[in-house]
Symmetry: C2
Subunit: 379 residues, 2 copies
């Protein structure tokens, strides 16, 4: 069975939807947020703890895993699910983004990318066929085509050539993919150029992917621009297929994207910020290391029912973070992931009632737009 979306409710304007992604590893309620487990581990959080905070699906990274421990080894050990002990669905990113942002690139051609590993400088080649082979070895439920992801601020001709190449690679990936249990998603590129985005979306839609992603956002641009790109692009993707906004994001960006018809998100924010002592709460961000929390016996968020808020005071969490105790990262990551799960859960409920506008306002009041994020994926 190929993972597919069952739409259960739509918003009054017909754009947003709520439903289920049905996969061989169980169903995921959508809209859904996927925590990032780059190297087959969500940093400092066990699979059991992920379940406790409501996670249904994870993202892992094909680029990172292909370098360490190697995708053939993961296959030999039974695939990603068995390897990392996660029973639910998994999505793997193809590695395009990481090759273009982390590796030392030697040459990009229509065949693929020659690059040197960011770990040990060893030489590798990643083309559409390799991207599919690696992801088939890993065995995630949803895999992604290889794409070229230009940096924010790239000139128009670079955006154009990245779109051309991404479309070409997408077609090659589609041809190379032979697996009745894995969904393959195409990735729309085009930067902040709406015409290019539209063209790319149309091209990919014609290839009949199992789902579609919007890539190349949240790479340093203004948040307003993310919303513009997403609201322009999402409705141009096939309505009956799952839609995934890669590397997003912050609360407002997620809700705005849900309103535009996005179903899936992944982002390192809850875990990276958690390890850095920043908590997402219903009253806005809380920097737990601050002296204000020294004797504060309230939970991180009074309106949160996560295991961390049910048990620990801000004073204790502040003490842990202040003292450099590793448990701080675990507990704040757990709380933050739950915050993201609760948020997409609220959005899910708001879809059919037309309540997404109000939820977006709630987010924007607490998590203002001012600062651009560079939140996509892990370094």
């Amino acid at each position: 069975m190929i993972p597919h979306l069952v739409i259960e409710a739509t918003s009054p304007d017909g754009l947003a939807r709520a439903g289920l992604l049905v996969t061989p590893h169980g169903s995921v309620r959508t809209p859904a947020f996927l925590p990032v487990g780059t190297l087959a581990s969500v940093k400092s959080v066990t699979p059991e703890q992920l379940e406790e905070v409501g996670v249904e699906m994870l993202l892992c990274n094909a680029y990172h895993l292909s370098l360490r421990p190697g995708s053939a080894l993961v296959r030999e050990l039974g695939g990603l699910h068995a390897f990392m002990g996660w029973k639910g669905p998994i999505l793997t990113d193809s590695g395009g983004f990481q090759v273009f942002s982390l590796a030392a690139i030697r040459r990009v051609t229509d065949e693929g990318v020659e690059f040197r590993s960011h770990i040990d400088g060893s030489r590798h080649f990643l083309g559409p066929r390799e991207a599919i082979a690696i992801q088939q070895d890993l065995g995630a439920d949803v895999i992604m085509v290889l794409d070229e992801c230009p940096p924010h601020g790239a000139p128009k001709e670079d955006l154009r050539s990245a779109v051309n190449r991404s479309v070409h690679w997408a077609r090659r990936c589609r041809e190379a993919h032979r697996d009745g249990e894995q969904a393959l998603f195409g990735i729309v590129q085009g930067g902040s150029d709406l015409a290019l985005r539209e063209e790319c979306a149309t091209e990919l839609s014609g290839m009949g992917f199992d789902g579609y992603a919007i890539g190349g956002v949240s790479v340093g641009e203004e948040k307003k621009l993310i919303r513009e790109v997403v609201s322009h692009t999402a409705p141009r993707l096939p309505f009956d297929r799952p839609r995934y906004l890669m590397g997003v994001g912050s609360p407002g960006e997620m809700v705005a994207a849900i309103a535009a018809g996005i179903d899936f998100f992944d982002c390192v924010l809850p875990t990276r910020n958690g390890r850095n002592g920043l908590a997402f709460t219903s009253e806005g961000p809380v920097r737990i290391r601050g002296a204000a929390h020294v004797r504060d016996d309230r939970p991180l968020d009074v309106s949160c029912a996560c295991p961390v808020c049910r048990k620990y005071s801000r004073a204790y969490l502040r003490h842990l973070a202040h003292s450099g105790e590793l448990l701080a990262g675990t507990l704040l990551s757990m709380h933050n992931i739950r915050f993201f799960q609760d948020l997409v859960g609220r959005a899910r409920g708001a879809v059919s009632e037309g309540g997404l506008g109000e939820l977006l306002k709630w987010c924007d009041e607490r998590y203002p737009l001012e600062k651009p994020d560079r939140s996509r994926s892990a370094p």
Copy 2:
């Protein structure tokens, strides 16, 4: 109710015992191993995970907690149990060992120690009265007298003066302690000098403590010397009171000490080694980062029933440790703690059957004596 020991079984030679420490926070089966939660957190392991691997009682450190976040603050927040979310019994070390090993000491007199914090250089004074006041604020079930802990290899006159001072401070602590819910343990010093150990044990026994500890071992001396000191000292302490060997230790040292009549242990080995990629197994130590484990799909220890061994392969743990993933520290710490719990559990069962000699042989074959440990407490 003052925490007290109920002896349920003794070994054929009458030296070793198995029983229960009964405390206001529940009972602990003895012999017992206490993981170290220096700063009110067992590094990288949650209280729920500690329960999962069979922990019944923890150690926290009064010196560290008095500097960060401060004992008055912990009291204000309901005491250590509430603060850190651990429902079972807790023991706090007085801070003597840490003051003598970590702080910059300005002056030691019979009144106490003037020292500078190892964190920020701030000035502090710790005397018997302060040690008791701090530990009453923290509110552990078992607290320790202030002792002077001379370094390994200290000359005889230093050992002598440390014993004199420790006895003097112990008496002051006994007088200062007013709490019907906390047990106060005396600490025997004397280095490797058996006559001094004996003298100190006799002096302290006369003061009627709720329990007795052997301190100043596992500070860099040969393991054989630890066994000699413990087997000489333990039987000279009141039989009906709990006995605690501080900062020990490795598997053989624990079992040898149990055979000599020790009931309690604490040690950083399972957690510190876990974070460093070393696992304790029934076949001896396993360095998980080693290339031998790259494709090893067996658990860390086939004969272990801990949540880590039930779920993860050596290959996965090796991948995590090799990639610097924090989860490696969590999972290896959990497994190692369970190994220590299982070991004291086996010792408990072996007491009445006279099986400790065989268990000691089992340990010494797997964890040879050659290397001295410096395992006591956290830095």
